[in-house]
Subunit: 357 residues, 4 copies
C-alpha cells in the first residue's frame, strides 16, 4: 500500500484549476483519493461559508471524475475544510491518495491513512459524551481500515465535526431537548472538544472513567496529543482521517508528531522531524489556540478580550507566524480551536516528510 500527499494552492474556495491541471498531467488520481484537507479563507467561525463552498465544489468535481453520485463520493472521501488563513497563512488543499501499486513488503513502516464517519448527530448530542463515544468508535474503524494495530503508531487524527446554529438549537428545543450551549460560536468549541476526547479515548490517552458531559470543555487536564478537530456548519456528523506509520505501506512518506507546549513552541517541529530522519517537508499540520490563562510565557495577550476579532483567528495568525518563520512556508494546515488537543495554549503538531531517494 502507498499513501501519497499532494498539496495544491488555490485562488479561492471554488478554484479547481490546480486540480484540473494535476489531472491533466497525471499527478492526480481521483479513484485513489481518500481525503481532502483544506485551508479556506473564511473566518473559521460560525458563518464561514467558504468551507461548505469548497466542499460543495470539490465533491462535485470528484463525482464527475469518478462518475459517481455525490452521496457515494461523500462515503469514499473525507472532506475536511478548516477555515481561516489569518496572518499570512495561504489557502491550499492537501489531497491524500491511497493505492496498492507498491512493491511487496517494505521493511520500514510508511505513511498509512484510513477514514471513517460517525452517524449523523442530533443537535443535543453535539459537545456531549455521545459525540465522544461515537468518535472513538469511528477512530478505531479508521485505524482498522489503515491497518494500524497499535495506538502508538497513530500520529495524527483529523476530524471535521458539526456546530450548532440558532436554527439547530431551536429544532432541539422544539423536541424538548436541551443543547450543550445555545451560543453558536461556543458550540464550535464543545464539538471540537468532544471530538478530541473521542480521539484521546480511542488512543488510550485518557481513561474512560474520567469522561462525562461536565468534563467536556471544562477539565482541560484531559487531552489528546494527536487530535486535530475542526468545526463547520456544513455537516452534522464527524468525518475522521487517521494518519500513522504502519508496516506494509510505502516508507517513502512518513509522519511524526509532537506537542507544542505553547504557541511559541516552534521547536516542536524540530522534535517531530527528529524522529523521521532527513527528507523534504510535504505537509505540516498544527493546532492553534489562545491560552486560557491570558498569558504566553508571562506576557499578557489580548485575544480573549478582543470583541472585533475572534480569539481563534488571532491564534491561527500567531502560530502561522511561528511555524512560517521556521519553515519559510505559509501553506500550512494550522487549524484553530484546540479544546482537549494538547495543553492550554499549545497543541498537537504533525509533519509528513518524504525521504530523499
Amino acid at each position: 500500500m502507498r499513501t501519497r500527499v499532494l498539496r495544491f494552492p488555490c485562488a479561492g474556495p471554488d478554484d479547481l484549476t490546480p486540480l484540473r491541471d494535476a489531472l491533466a498531467d497525471g499527478r492526480l488520481h481521483p479513484e485513489r483519493v481518500v481525503a481532502v484537507l483544506g485551508k479556506t479563507e473564511g473566518n473559521g467561525c460560525v458563518n464561514d461559508f467558504t468551507r461548505a463552498f469548497a466542499t460543495s465544489v470539490l465533491k462535485r468535481f470528484f463525482a464527475e471524475q469518478l462518475a459517481l453520485p455525490e452521496d457515494t463520493v461523500a462515503e469514499r472521501i473525507a472532506f475536511v475544510m478548516s477555515g481561516g488563513t489569518e496572518g499570512g497563512l495561504s489557502p491550499h488543499w492537501l489531497v491524500f491518495e491511497v493505492d496498492d501499486a507498491v512493491s511487496p513488503a517494505p521493511e520500514q513502516p510508511g505513511l498509512a491513512a484510513g477514514i471513517a464517519f460517525t452517524e449523523t448527530f442530533a443537535p443535543e448530542q453535539i459537545g456531549r459524551l455521545d459525540q465522544v463515544r461515537a468518535t472513538a468508535a469511528a477512530v478505531r474503524r479508521a485505524m482498522a481500515e489503515a491497518g494500524i494495530e497499535r495506538a502508538g503508531d497513530v500520529h495524527y487524527v483529523q476530524i471535521k465535526c458539526p456546530l450548532l446554529t440558532a436554527a439547530r438549537c431551536e429544532q432541539a428545543r422544539r423536541r424538548g431537548a436541551t443543547v450543550a450551549t445555545t451560543d453558536t460560536y461556543e458550540s464550535m468549541g464543545y464539538s471540537r472538544g468532544a471530538s478530541a476526547l473521542g480521539v484521546a479515548l480511542a488512543l488510550g490517552e485518557v481513561d474512560e472513567r474520567a469522561l462525562n458531559d461536565a468534563a467536556i470543555c471544562h477539565d482541560f487536564a484531559l487531552w489528546s496529543g494527536r487530535a486535530s478537530t475542526s468545526a463547520g456548519i456544513e455537516l452534522m456528523r464527524n468525518e475522521i482521517l487517521v494518519l500513522g506509520n504502519a508496516p506494509g505501506w510505502d516508507p517513502a512518506l512518513r509522519i511524526g508528531h509532537d506537542v507544542m507546549a505553547d504557541a511559541l513552541d516552534g521547536e516542536a517541529l524540530d522534535r517531530a522531524r527528529a524522529t523521521l530522519g532527513d527528507g523534504q517537508l510535504v505537509a505540516l499540520l498544527a493546532k492553534a489556540e489562545p491560552s486560557r490563562s491570558g498569558e504566553i510565557r508571562g506576557r499578557r495577550h489580548t485575544m480573549w478580550d478582543d470583541s472585533d476579532i475572534n480569539a481563534t483567528r488571532h491564534a491561527r495568525a500567531l502560530v502561522g507566524g511561528v511555524l512560517g518563520g521556521r519553515t519559510g512556508d505559509l501553506a500550512l494546515f494550522v487549524s484553530g480551536g484546540a479544546e482537549h488537543q494538547g495543553p492550554d495554549g499549545g497543541g498537537p503538531l504533525a509533519v509528513i516528510v518524504e525521504s530523499g531517494s
Copy 2:
C-alpha cells in the same frame, strides 16, 4: 551621557501601575524621560482610541511627576503609541531615559537618543512633500540633539504622525484645499509613507530629486531601512525619536538594525544582533506590512482581500509570530504600515542589546 530603556507591561491603555511601582522603587526617573513608545491594544487603524487614551494618561502622569503643565511635558517627551497587538503581541511601554551621570569618555559608542517635533500640519500637507521635508528637518535636529554626526550611525527613527479623519478632510475642503486622499484609512498610509521618506531624505537613503507628491505611496523603490512610522488620530504634527550609537554615550546599551526582506525573514534579527556582540535583548522594534504582490515566498496571502480584518492587522500578527517564535518573547514593538519602510512586504528591524557586565 547614558540612555536607559525600561520595558513595562500594561494591563490596559490607562494602566499606570507598573510605572508607579517603578517610581516607588527608584527604577523610573521622570525627569530623564525623553520618549515613551507603546504598543496599545486597539485596532491600530483610524478609530483606535487606545493610542490617544494612553497618551492622555501618560502625559498627565509625567506632568504630575514633573510638576509641569502638560503642554510643557509634550515638548520634552515624545509619546509614540502604536496600536495593534494582534496574534499574541503583548501591550507594553518602552520608556527611554537620558542622563549624564556617566563616566567620562567611554571608548566605545553607546546608545544615543534624541527627539524633535515638526510644526502642526494642515490636513492638506499630510501625505505630501511638505510632510516629507518637515520630517527630514526634524530628523536632523533630533540627530544633533543626540550628538550623532553621521547618518550611518543612526539605526532607528521612530515617528508618530497624524492621519486624516472625515472632519479634517471636510475642514480642508471648506478652505478650498484638497487632501491627499479622502479615504481615512488610506490616509494613514500616506502619512506614514511621507514620514518615512522624510527619514530616508535626512539619512541620505534617497535622492531629493526623486521625491515629489506623486511618488508618495506609489514609487515604492524609494525606502528607508531605518524608519518606523506610525499614524494616529491624536496629533497633527510629527513626533520623532532618533536612536543610534554615538561616542560619549554609555556603551552598556547598543543598537543595531537590519531590514527584513519579507515577513518571514526572522533571520534579520540574527543579522542585526551579529553587529552587537553578546548581550541581553532589551527591546525589539520592527515594521510589518502585507506584500503588495499578494504573495509571500510564492504563496498567496489573503490580507488584502479580507474586508473583515484590515491588512495591517494581519501583518502585525504574522510578524509578531515570526519574531516571537524566534525570541520566545511577545512584548515586541511590531508596528504596522511600512510604506517606504523597507522593501515590499518587509521592513526595518532594530534591536537594543545590553552587554553583560
Copy 3:
C-alpha cells in the same frame, strides 16, 4: 406578457429547500425565470463568497431543472447576489418569472422585465468609461427585450458587476495595464459607480459629454435615480435586469420608484407607493450608502472612521432599520454602495406592488 415575482426566505447561501418546495407545489416555473436577485449573508465586501456560493448552487439547480448546460443557463437567467444582511435584514431570494400566458391587451401597463449582459471586462476596464458605455448599451438591449420604449417607464435597473482582486490587478500589471485602483475594496465602488453611470447614460439622466474616467467616483453630482449596482468577486462582466411598467404586460404587478434624499428618508417609500394605488408590497429594493459629508441631518456618523466594520455594512444596517421599521418586514433587498446612485447618502428605492383582485 406577465412578470411574476416570488420571494423565498433561505436558511443559508446554499439552501434550495424553499425553491424545491415551490417547484413541487407548482408555484415556481424554471423555464420562465429571467432573473434571481438575492440577499446573502456575507460581508458584502471583497471576500464575500456567499454570493458566488449562492450563484453556483442556484445555477446548478436551474441547469438540472431545465436540462441545460450551466453556461446556457447563465445566458438566460441573471443571478444578482447582493451580500450583507446587517442589522436585521433577512437573507432571501427574489425570483422573476416572465411568461406570455396572459389575456391580450391589458389597458394598463404592467411590470415588465428584461435582462442583458455585457462582454467580459479586462481588469483595467473596470471603473472606467469602457464599463460605463458597455453598460449603457446593455441597458438599452434589456429595455428592448422588455418592450419598454421610453426611458421614463424604467423604474429600476439592477446590475451585478465585477470587482478587482489582488490577483486581477497583478494580471493587468503584467500586461502593462494600469487599473482604476489597486485597493480591492475601493474597486467595488469604482465598478458600482461606472455601472450606475451607464444606467444614467442610457436613461438620459446624465449628459454623455459630462462623462470621463476622472468623473467616476469623483463628480457625484452625476447620478441615476433608478440604478442599483452591486459588485461581486464571482463575475467579470455586468449582468443587468431592467424593470419598468409597459403596455402589453399584466398590470396585476406594477413598479414605482423614488429617491431617498438621505438614509432616514423612509418617506421615499410612501412617495413611490403613491404612484401605484393600493396593493400589497411584493418587493422593496433600495440602495444604502454612508453620506460622504460624515453627517446625516446635521448629526455626525462614524461609518467612515470605523476600521472594524466597513462603511457599507453600517449603511445597509441603517437603511434596513429605517425601511423595516416602516414596513414591518426585513426581507428587503437593501444593497450597499450607492456611488452615482442617488444623491450623497441617499439612493434609489423601488417598490413592486400587487393590486388587490
Copy 4:
C-alpha cells in the same frame, strides 16, 4: 426642584469643546450636574476603551470646574457611557442637571432624577444574585433621593455595570472563587441581566422568590420594562440613574416610557409620547437586542451567527435605524444588550419631552 437635560454632540470620546462652549455661554452648570450619559464610538463590547476614555476626560473636566478631587466628583456624578454607534447613531452626551431654583409647588409632576451607587463588587458577584440585590437597594436609594415615592412613577433606570476580563476571572480563581462565566463577552450579558433584575425587583416587576443565580440570563420571562443597563470595563460597581415624574419638580420636562415588543416596534415611541402631550423631544433612550428566537416577525436574522460583528452591534444599528427613521434624528441613546430588559428581541424605551411654553 428642576431637572434639565442638555444634549451635546461630540467629535470623539475626548472632545470637550461642546461642553466648554456651553460653560462659556452659561448653558452648563457643573455644580448642578448629577449624571452624564454618553454614546461613544467604540464597539460596545469587552475591549471598548472609548467608554473609559470618555469617563476619564469628563471626570477630570468636572473635577477642574468644581475644584474637587476626581474621587469626590465620582460620588456626585454618575458617568454612564454606552459604547457603540453602529448604523448611523451619532456620538453624544446627555447631561442631567438638578437644581432647586424653581417656583414653589408646581401642580403637575415633572422630571425627577436621582443617582446612587452600589459597593464595589468582587468578580464572582457579577451576574449573580448578589448583584441583583445590591442593585435593587441602590435603585431604592436613588428613588428616595429623587423624591419618587411610587414605583409606578419611575419611567427609566439607567445602570452602568462592570464586566469580567480574563484578568478578573483569574483573580477570582486564585482566591478559589468561581465566576458566573469565563467568557468575557458573555459576562457583559450576565452583568446587564443581573442589574436589570435588580431594577425589576426594586420596582415590583418581578417577585423576589422567582430570583436565583440560575434564573439570571436563563429565565427571560422575568424582565423589567424600565431598566436600561450597560456594561463596561472601566468600573467594578453599579452606577444608577433613576428618572421619573414626581410632584415638586418643574413640569417643563416630563418623561414617559413604553416597551418595544420587538426591534421593529417603533410605535412604542408614539405610545410613550401619547402619555405626555405635545412637546419637543429632548432625549430618546432605548434598548436593543437580537431576538433569541433568531427571527423578527417571522423573518430569519443573522445576528447570532455572524462571527465578524457581535450581535449587539447589529441590534443597535437596527434599532437606531427604526427610531432614527421615525424621529429624523440619530443622536439617540440606543444601548445594546437587553437581557431581562423587555421581552425577547424588544426592550424598554423612554422619551423626555419639553412642553411648549
